[in-house]
């Protein structure tokens, strides 16, 4: 291994409970984040921003949200797309109604509104579990999409039914609207992805996270210890929806610029984010980021390879994507249900002992 972890003793519980207890890990992460902030803007092109970096960051936030609900609290949800739509529509309505409101406030409010909606659709989870709950979340997915499509008020009565984000600034820099620089959009999303990731880490390592995991692992025993399943699950739904709502708002406002909600946030989105969480690792903060990167990159790589490399038609590549993702999910579920985050952990464990096998 590159550095030795043994011999680093902690003198206080506080040091032991830190997110990165090993000093070198902490430095590595800080270094990596610094590169993301300072190094990447020096080399990235507009295409890379728009097609890779920004969506990866936004989907990381969505994956964090779904991971909190499904990975940490064990409540399977197939309604992610619908909740992203709530975030996007809230953002749209708020910013068009209050053009002077700070964008961060708008995002937070969109998150809270989505959290509220999430709680409503989470109420059934008190009584139902597993795939029953998954079907109930499908109700959210289809109903919400239909609602935003059919009720013209949500679209501010535009005839085309498309929501367009007006230009908005943060600290004097445009981050939404057609004129905003890709680099600025990227940095804005990066800040949010880092902050929200930290918040998630904190929530998960404290009493709230333990409550979620207790409900996930053995909800009956948890209840007998004194956890309140209802409150815990609803909290998971609301925090998860908060994250997913912000991701939806960002996807609409900062990434795409204009959306037709039924198309952009349909059931395929729900599956995509679910795949991110499975591939990345259920119950892992790091896994949410890895999964998002993987699922966003794969179609791009595949399409480039198949269409430009091998000369297939675009539509065939799309079909192949389905096969690829389906097989990937099955493969991960068979080989490593805890996803790439676990593979990374195993790699680190092996590296610790390298070159000895055990």
């Amino acid at each position: 291994m590159l550095y030795r972890e043994a011999g680093q003793f902690k003198r206080s519980y506080e040091a032991d409970a830190a997110i990165f207890p090993i000093a070198q890990d902490r430095w590595a992460v800080i270094f990596f984040v610094a590169i993301l902030f300072l190094g990447v803007p020096l080399v990235a092109s507009e295409y890379i921003y728009q097609a890779i970096l920004v969506p990866v960051l936004i989907y990381s936030i969505a994956a964090l949200g779904l991971n909190i609900l499904t990975g940490y609290c064990g409540q399977l949800s197939l309604g992610t797309g619908g909740f992203m739509a709530v975030g996007a529509v809230s953002c749209y309505k708020l910013t068009t109604a209050f053009p002077d409101m700070n964008l961060i406030v708008i995002l937070l409010l969109s998150g809270f509104i989505t959290a509220g909606v999430g709680v409503i659709f989470g109420i059934p989870s008190l009584r139902i579990k597993g795939f029953y709950l998954a079907v109930a979340t499908l109700a959210a997915q289809f109903f919400l999409n239909w609602l935003f499509n059919k009720v013209a008020w949500f679209q501010n009565y535009t005839p085309s039914g498309t929501l367009t984000m007006p230009p908005r600034e943060i600290f004097g820099t445009l981050v939404t609207g057609a004129e905003a620089l890709p680099r600025d959009r990227y940095l804005f999303c990066l800040v949010l992805a880092v902050v929200l990731g930290l918040a998630a880490c904190n929530m998960v390592r404290g009493p709230v996270g333990r409550a979620w995991m207790a409900i996930r692992d053995m909800d009956i025993a948890a209840e007998l210890i004194g956890f309140r399943p209802f409150n815990t699950k609803l909290l998971a739904f609301s925090v998860s929806s908060f994250y997913i709502g912000i991701a939806g708002a960002l996807a609409f406002g900062v990434w795409l610029g204009s959306v037709e909600t039924a198309e952009a946030f349909d059931i395929n989105q729900s599956f995509q984010v679910l795949f991110m969480v499975i591939v990345g690792g259920l119950g892992s903060i790091l896994g949410s980021y890895i999964g998002a990167a993987f699922i966003v990159l794969t179609p791009i790589v595949l399409t480039n390879f198949m269409v430009y490399g091998l000369g297939f038609e675009a539509v065939t590549a799309k079909h192949f994507e389905f096969i690829f993702f389906g097989s990937l999910i099955i493969l991960f579920l068979i080989l490593e249900p805890h996803g790439m985050a676990r593979l990374w952990q195993i790699a680190k464990e092996k590296l610790r002992l390298w070159p000895f096998p055990h």
Binding site: N202, R210, D217
Partner: protein, 273 residues
């Protein structure tokens, strides 16, 4: 195995179950059972398999709701317990088939036992998201307590191990730790020694008796090992086919004919340790 202990046979009652009857459809799990638990004692509940012992604990816990009868605990008489009320009132529990949270480490599992002792306000979701400040202080305060339990049970080495990877005996110990972390008034143990070898059993007995002596925690345990029962319990309740067939000190119960017929067999009446 002989351990010296102060035998309690009278004192305040911490728990009284009266005329409890519990059925699942046509299956009558418990039929008109009444007994009491004296504060500070170690009570053993014994009986053949299917006698309704675990169901009885589940009723006390509030997981099962009896069709008849009432439960007197903490100065209140209730037709049924709710799990939250039982936990709040100071009842902690271990389970027959180790019900640990397999996805978490030993330390985290024990910390879940501190759940009810934590300040709700200091650890609400917003404080938790920031972690520094109230949440961190609460967390560290209770971490200290959890560590004391870990020291007491001598499981420091497996503190950070995910419990799913631990051998069965250690899992049972961690489960005891989780129950102890809640600083319970009444500790319900469901076959805490099952599947253990002699040394492990001795350790467990020591922990149970220490907890009972030092903190005055009342213990009610279900156990099949008669040696353990005779040695560490102050009183014994015997169930058979959902009914209580005897209650008294270990010696009284040992020589009770009904108990011998149902459960002990004739050779046990001359068993020592």
């Amino acid at each position: 195995m002989t351990i010296d202990s102060q035998t309690k046979t009278d004192g305040n009652l911490i728990l009284e179950v009266e005329n409890i009857s519990l059925s699942f459809g046509a299956v009558r799990a418990i039929v008109d059972v009444s007994f009491s638990v004296i504060e500070g004692e170690v009570l053993a509940i014994i009986g053949p398999n299917g006698a309704g012992k675990t169901s009885m604990l589940n009723v006390i816990n509030g997981f099962y709701h009896p069709q008849e009868g009432q439960i007197q605990f903490g100065g209140e008489v209730r037709r049924q317990m709710r799990p939250y009320q039982a936990a709040r009132g100071g009842i902690a529990r271990t389970f027959q088939n180790v019900a640990l949270f397999k996805g978490m480490t030993t330390l985290d599992n024990i910390m879940t036992g501190r759940n009810l002792k934590m300040n709700r306000w200091a650890t609400n979701i917003f404080a938790a998201a920031f972690y520094v400040g109230p949440t961190r202080r609460e967390e560290l305060r209770h971490r200290e307590h959890a560590e004391r339990v870990i020291d007491f049970l001598e499981i420091q080495a497996i503190r950070k191990t995910p419990v799913g990877r631990l051998p069965y005996g250690l899992q049972k110990r961690v489960e005891l730790g989780r129950a102890l972390a809640a600083e319970p008034k009444l500790l319900l143990l469901d076959e805490p020694m099952a599947g253990m070898n002699l040394e492990e059993k001795q350790d467990m007995c020591r922990y149970v008796l220490d907890v009972n002596d030092e903190f005055g925690t009342t213990v009610a345990l279900i156990e099949h090992d008669m040696g353990v029962v005779m040695d560490i319990s102050d009183r014994v309740v015997v169930l058979d086919y959902g009914r209580k067939i005897a209650e008294g000190t270990p010696d009284e119960v040992k020589s009770n004919q009904a108990v011998i017929d149902a459960y002990l067999g004739t050779s046990a009446s001359s068993a020592t340790a």
